[in-house]
Symmetry: C2
Subunit: 172 residues, 2 copies
């Protein structure tokens, strides 16, 4: 039966729901709108949260490195760090070894705020995954984490399209 569609069940199953990109976009968006208010309560934006997390538990040598780590545009990163610095969660310190570079490091407040915020974020994540069995949750997280880092390359008519360690997410 090659035609799965017509006059079937409640029919929430078009090919849309098999499209990986659509699924990911949808889920990400859902999480984003759910988490944004919670983070705002901690004085953080989604980007701020992400960058702060990277700063807190990574030995950050330069903003450029940071940008690549979270895969955000470097010019965007400037603004995010501005925001974090203004909130006193992060500090920009000139690298004594290279006066071009700025070492970005978290303040104590930053670490505290992150931990608090992260707790809320985790709660939201858990809630999203609520009706999956613990094993399924585990494997989902593992699978996703495993995929990230994998470059996405596509061969097309002999040419190689690179959509690799992709540049940047995009949220609010």
């Amino acid at each position: 039966m090659p035609h799965p569609t017509p006059a079937d069940g409640p029919a929430p199953d078009s090919r849309l729901h098999d499209d990986l990109h659509w699924l990911l976009a949808r889920l990400k968006q859902g999480l984003a709108t759910a988490q944004a208010p919670a983070l705002r309560a901690h004085g953080l934006s989604l980007w701020g949260y992400t960058v702060l997390m990277a700063v807190v538990d990574a030995p950050t040598r330069s903003q450029l490195a940071l940008a690549q780590a979270v895969s955000v545009d470097k010019s965007k990163l400037v603004l995010v760090i501005d925001e974090l610095e203004a909130a006193g969660l992060v500090r920009r310190r000139p690298d004594p070894a290279d006066r071009r570079a700025r070492i970005v490091e978290a303040t104590d407040t930053g670490r505290r705020v992150l931990d608090a915020a992260r707790e809320d974020v985790l709660a939201i994540e858990d809630h999203l995954l609520a009706d999956l069995e613990p094993r399924a949750q585990q494997s989902l997280r593992a699978l996703l984490a495993g995929l990230v880092g994998e470059p996405v390359v596509r061969v097309e008519n002999g040419r190689e399209y690179e959509g690799p360690c992709a540049p940047a997410p995009s949220d609010t």
Copy 2:
């Protein structure tokens, strides 16, 4: 050992890589940049592809219904349909039963283009999932599909934050 970070392995494992939102955003972005060129070869944008897919295998009564199905803003949808219609992949027909509404239906060309494009897209998806076992691929897809549709609600200090069947993805 509560401190997983300092002086460890190659250390690609900050808490970032446990953050669901970041993972999803990252993967989605990767897929997007990989698929966009392939779709462009078929004369489609990412949005065009998504909407066309929804139109082809769903009984579309009105643009509004369509908008909700793919969860895209209605005013954005207008432009996407314009694009598809100009390319002759889709037709806007006034609903005889309600002259306000427009029935959007795919043309034969539209169906053909979609099938061709979808083949390429699937190839890219498979490539992304390449080094997962078939079982893992299956379960990943199933898990994601299962989660979509789940409203994301968060309880916060007694209030209820709704980030449910979220509005719209966002790509190029």
